[in-house]
Subunit: 243 residues, 2 copies
């Protein structure tokens, strides 16, 4: 009996990959811009010498990524991708590994240390009044302890992101909030913040950050923010400020 060599299955996955790459190159080569119509599925299938199913799957991917959209009576058009939207569905802390969570939390520290210049550039009286209200509401419930209740943190720091006047950054932050919550709660378990001992001097409160924003400079604000975030930096660096 004749021994056949093993027949290899057709790698349909990689065919779709190839078509996806071809389509992206096609958009680029033809200098297509968001809003421009793109050829029909059938035309792509014929030019590329593949089945419509393969083209459809590649186009579906691009639609999932927000690069194309279907318009009634117009077929498909190129779309300006919303670079944040795709994050939304995948940023579930329960699906991310510990390493990624740690890195995203570090990213938060980096962003908040880095955005001072934009806060000072864009601040106006309305922003400062809003922050004043947030801080006063905090102070009304002051317990004398160093407390980082999550809703207060989010109100104050969220307002700072808003003042950055950078909607990409804001959306990024709002998407990362579940990650921040998750790490924050974990951190709170690891460290007794009420018992946290600062490396020197005293804790920088939201009130002090606000005063810095009113009368300081980006430089004084960064120093204050660094001190404010110290417990989180120490946690990131596996230092322990508690007794």
């Amino acid at each position: 009996m004749k021994k056949y060599k093993k027949i290899e299955p057709v790698d349909t996955g990689s065919l779709v990959d190839k078509v996806e790459i071809k389509l992206l190159a096609f958009f680029k080569d033809n200098n297509l811009k968001p809003g421009d119509a793109i050829p029909k599925e059938l035309e792509f299938a014929e030019s590329l010498g593949v089945s419509r199913t393969v083209v459809r799957e590649a186009l579906l991917r691009l639609r999932t990524l927000g690069l194309v959209e279907s318009k009634k009576h117009r077929g498909m058009i190129l779309k300006q991708p919303d670079i944040i939207n795709n994050f939304e569905r995948i940023l579930d802390p329960t699906l991310l590994g510990e390493d990624t969570l740690k890195q995203l939390f570090e990213l938060r520290l980096i962003l908040e240390m880095g955005m001072a210049d934009f806060l000072f550039e864009n601040r106006d009286q309305k922003d400062l009044d809003e922050l004043e209200e947030i801080v006063e509401a905090e102070e009304a419930t002051e317990t004398g302890k160093i407390r980082f209740t999550l809703d207060k943190e989010i109100a104050f720091h969220g307002k700072l992101y808003q003042m950055s006047n950078n909607t990409t950054l804001q959306k990024f932050q709002s998407l990362l909030l579940p990650v921040f919550d998750y790490v924050y709660l974990k951190e709170t378990k690891d460290t007794d913040l009420d018992d946290y001992h600062f490396s020197g001097g005293k804790f920088v409160t939201h009130r002090m950050l606000l005063e810095n924003l009113k009368v300081g400079t980006p430089e004084t604000f960064r120093s204050a923010m660094r001190r404010h975030l110290e417990p989180h930096f120490d946690h990131a660096f596996k230092k322990n400020g508690s007794k």
Copy 2:
């Protein structure tokens, strides 16, 4: 002749949306983790009361987003999503609007201002030696002018991102490079950097940043970096440092 009311087309798009949401909720409710197998297309179709085609399309989306993957003989399993990978295909500067490009460039400034603490925490002699090599190579081709040739910028600043020891941040930066290039080239057209007049004192070079990293503190490094990035900040703030 009887007048019919208009028959509305079935909104298949939104059915897939709904199934996608149901699937994500199902993973969460069952506390499924990356690596866990998920039920078959047919089972989902039956439980959800929709066609296999709809389930297939929803699963394809999740595959495109990197949340599930097909394993031979095992069906589909949950996957830890690579939060950066999805960015890759959509971050084409020619497809992004001017606003988004500006915001991503601002994000770069924020990241580089914010990462000082991580550089100081993680630096070792090997890092400093590598930076020394990069800076010496620059100085060997020194022209006396303030030049920001793109490859030098990328070599030096890319090494800093690497020193952050945060792979999410590194991947993010490498993905954003085409955007940085694009904005950088645009900026160079707008501003004659050789003719740029600093607000006071002199320009902070890569050499000075490196000396800061060797013997300074995160605080001195941030001040130096702020000065180093001044032309870019001025451009972002629509200030003009040139004559």
